[in-house]
């Protein structure tokens, strides 16, 4: 194994797959919470909507940049896979993009266009967030189904699209628990109690379907001694779910302690689920068809990107942290004349 990883044809694609995985994961958590806030929009009144927007306003743009980074890494590091995956998912990708366009501009127009249009823009913000979340869930499902379009795979993808959207609403609600107080925070707690089911069902559906659809994945999980070594993944997930469950029953608390717990544990769940999926699909980047080593760009191209990434990514992490630090604390209410 070590000698293999001394070969740039091996360690470079692996490194880039890891980087891409991190980018996707960061995207899912970060844009997950602001998409989730959008999904929850119809449940809030007008004043609450303004506060919800205020809680994500300074962040959403940078959050979406992680999607560009993830898709960019797929594009530059695994060009063959990029083409195959995106042409197979042509329509859901277009739907997601239109969703992202609509909700992205709604941030601006809901306050800058004439006030009589504001409620229309609120609906567009909701609709765009829904469309983006649903199509992402759909693509997740199709990917797990090996990018084959049949009635069964589409049915499964429709299920995951609903589960992921509800899951986003959970992480969005968990974000609002941190960033708001008073009545809105109480509402957010009840939204999170509903949203958690999206995560439970989504994780369950993926865990059941992946090994059933592929004998290879089944063997990777359910043969000795892997089954023992992998046991911490589902056990930790159950533990995190239990913590969220208990915490949500006790929130909102008097001094706002533990308001961060649902978000942190939710992030933990996304990470565990992602690790599980990564383990299932490795070494394939296009399920069962193309490994990441076959799809990788030339080492010369990868090494020059890696040089920049190693230098720049910590800086990005640093100033992103700065932004979250500056806008820490409860989201202040917005006041438009």
């Amino acid at each position: 194994m070590m000698t293999l990883f001394g070969d740039p044809q091996v360690w470079l694609p692996f490194t880039f797959a890891t980087l891409m995985g991190i980018a996707i994961l960061v995207y899912v958590v970060l844009d997950g919470f602001d998409l989730g806030v959008g999904v929850l929009f119809p449940f809030a009144d007008d004043r609450e909507k303004d506060r919800m927007i205020a809680s994500i306003g300074p962040f959403w743009d940078a959050n979406e940049t992680w999607l560009v980074l993830a898709i960019g890494l797929l594009l530059v590091a695994f060009p063959a896979a990029h083409g195959t995956i995106l042409t197979a998912l042509y329509l859901p990708v277009a739907a997601m993009l239109i969703g992202l366009i609509l909700r992205g501009v709604a941030f601006e127009y809901r306050v800058k266009a004439p006030p009589k249009w504001k409620s229309t823009w609120n609906w567009i913000f909701w609709g765009g967030s829904m469309l983006a979340a649903l199509s992402q869930g759909f693509m997740l499902g199709m990917y797990i189904m090996g990018l084959e379009w049949t009635i069964w795979t589409v049915g499964f993808a429709l299920l995951t699209s609903v589960f992921l959207t509800v899951g986003y609403s959970f992480i969005g609600a968990a974000w609002l628990i941190i960033k708001t107080d008073g009545l809105l925070q109480e509402k957010a707690v009840s939204w999170a109690r509903g949203g958690i089911w999206g995560l439970v069902l989504g994780l369950g559906a993926i865990s059941l379907a992946s090994p059933l659809i592929s004998a290879r994945i089944f063997d990777k999980w359910f043969s000795m001694p892997q089954v023992l070594m992998l046991a911490p993944l589902p056990l930790l997930s159950l533990g995190l779910l239990a913590i969220i469950w208990v915490t949500l029953r006790r929130l909102p608390s008097a001094n706002d302690s533990r308001a961060w717990v649902p978000f942190a544990c939710g992030t933990g769940l996304f990470i565990l689920a992602f690790c599980g999926m990564a383990y299932s699909f490795y070494p394939y980047v296009v399920p069962e068809k193309l490994t990441l080593y076959e799809a990788a760009s030339a080492p010369e191209a990868l090494i020059i990107i890696l040089a920049g990434t190693v230098f720049v990514l910590p800086m990005i992490a640093l100033y992103t942290t700065l932004a979250y630090y500056i806008f820490r604390g409860k989201a202040t209410e917005l006041s438009y004349e």
Binding site: L75, I101, L102, Y109, I316, Y319, T332
Partner: protein, 473 residues
């Protein structure tokens, strides 16, 4: 229609819609930094008021640019997989560097720039403004390096039909890059000059007597008057560079069929590719030879040299290139006329008061002119891009990859579906964007407060609110 032409229309529509907004944000970022620095230096409220007004338009344009840019990053894979498969080793790193060094910088500091004014020290807010402007310019640097490489590839070798970089410096600073980058950055400067002057003129015509509108008109008109001669010079240099590296494109721009000397500069013509000639030609004798070779006997390449033996044209579509080039140059000439006319009036000393640069010195017709030309930068920029991009056809990467070879194997009806969806969304957003700009101008002209972010605890912003505005609550 087949998937190729539909994909081209879709990509063209996407990138045309997208470029409208970076064209604004690249230069507007620097204009905002200028406003902020003037405010820091003079303490005059008008500079901060100008910042407040224009930062809203910046935010709006930025959001439009971001969402259409995300779409772009997916289109490579959804419609043009052959592009990355062939030249991914070159295009990949350039795109990756754009994301890493520009997109995150812009996106993160934009949040601080827009919403952090009351939360961070003044210097950090100014720094954030600088970093956003710097980020947008870095973004232009990388994407134009890639685009220029597609026109004039250098620093690479082909192995088994795939491009590999041999010299990254040569890849980035390929022959057309310095010209294209300067031409585009100046185009952005001009677009913003006319946007700022145009919307400020609109506010003045709506009866706005605030200093912000007057300042905006002065800044916009002067900036335009300074930039336009530089742009004309730069455009000429870019043209000479194109003549050296992509002669077929220049032949199409000039509408010249036969290689030879004493070629006229055509003011009007309808090029006909069937008969390989122009109809209704009106031209200035020898001018094309003089512009391109600085002598009436200078040789200008002709389109007839670019046909395969079987008669297949190897030159770009002539009419489209010919006319978009003329729209660009014509718009540039109008920009020159209006900005110099206005600055001449503004800079004259008033006989009575001895004052200069007073906005009332400007004839009213100039205000209408600026309003009419608010988006002239968009027209010129799009026409210029159409000239250069259509001028590269039938190549996607000159001499390396044809457009036809790069297109995805997606069924045409599917492409048509998404094309209609994108076009509908883009058309609606464009109308809404321009409508909202007009609405914001009207609101500012009436002295109403613009939507402003305010702390819930009622803590005031640092600096003063618009004096013309009614106090909040």
């Amino acid at each position: 229609m087949d998937a190729l032409i539909l994909s081209r229309i879709q990509f063209g529509a996407n990138i045309s819609f997208h470029i409208l907004f970076p064209t604004i944000t690249i230069a507007l970022g620097w204009v905002l930094l200028f406003f902020k620095l003037r405010y820091s230096a003079t303490g005059e409220d008008r500079w901060m008021d100008a910042y407040r007004f224009w930062v809203k338009i910046f935010a709006l344009s930025f959001a439009m640019g971001v969402v259409s840019g995300i779409t772009m990053s997916f289109q490579f894979g959804t419609n043009w997989p052959g592009f990355m498969e062939t030249v991914g080793n070159i295009a990949g790193p350039l795109l990756a560097y754009e994301v890493l060094t520009a997109f995150f910088l812009e996106a993160v500091f934009l949040g601080i720039m827009l919403f952090g004014f009351s939360k961070v020290p003044g210097w950090l807010h100014t720094l954030a403004t600088f970093l956003v402007a710097f980020g947008t310019t870095m973004s232009a640097f990388w994407i134009l390096a890639l685009n220029s490489w597609m026109h004039t590839p250098a620093g690479y070798e082909m192995r088994d039909g795939v491009a590999y970089a041999t010299d990254w410096f040569a890849v980035i600073f390929n022959p057309s890059f310095p010209y294209r980058l300067s031409h585009m950055l100046l185009a952005s400067g001009l677009t913003v000059s006319f946007l700022v002057a145009g919307l400020s003129a609109l506010r003045l015509l709506m009866g706005d007597r605030s200093e912000v509108a007057a300042t905006g008109l002065r800044v916009g008109a002067v900036l335009a008057a300074v930039l336009i001669p530089v742009q004309i010079f730069m455009g000429d240099q870019h043209g000479l560079n194109t003549l050296e590296h992509q002669p077929a494109k220049v032949a199409a721009m000039e509408g010249n069929w036969d290689t030879g000397s004493h070629v006229p500069m055509l003011l009007f013509a309808i090029p006909d590719e069937e008969t390989r000639s122009n109809r209704f030609e009106i031209g200035i004798p020898n001018m094309a030879s003089i512009i391109l070779e600085h002598s009436p006997s200078g040789i200008v390449p002709g389109l007839n040299d670019y046909y395969a033996e079987d008669g297949t044209p190897l030159h770009p579509p002539v009419g489209k290139v010919f006319w978009s080039f003329r729209v660009m140059v014509g718009t540039g000439m109008l920009m020159l006329a209006l900005s110099w006319f206005s600055v001449w009036f503004l800079s004259r000393r008033d006989a009575v008061t001895g004052e200069r640069w007073h906005i009332d010195r400007l004839p009213r017709i100039a205000l209408y002119g600026f309003v009419a030309m608010t988006f002239s930068g968009w027209v010129a920029t799009l026409a210029g891009w159409l000239t250069t991009e259509i001028g590269r056809q039938p190549w996607l990467v000159t001499g390396v990859l044809t457009t036809e070879a790069a297109v995805a194997d997606v069924p045409a009806p599917m492409v048509l579906t998404t094309l209609i969806a994108y076009l509908a969304v883009y058309a609606a957003l464009l109308v809404i964007y321009i409508g909202t700009l007009t609405y914001l101008c009207g609101k500012a002209a009436r002295g109403e407060r613009l939507p402003e972010r305010k702390r819930a605890d009622g803590a005031p912003f640092q600096g003063k609110a618009n004096p013309a505005a009614t106090p909040a609550e």
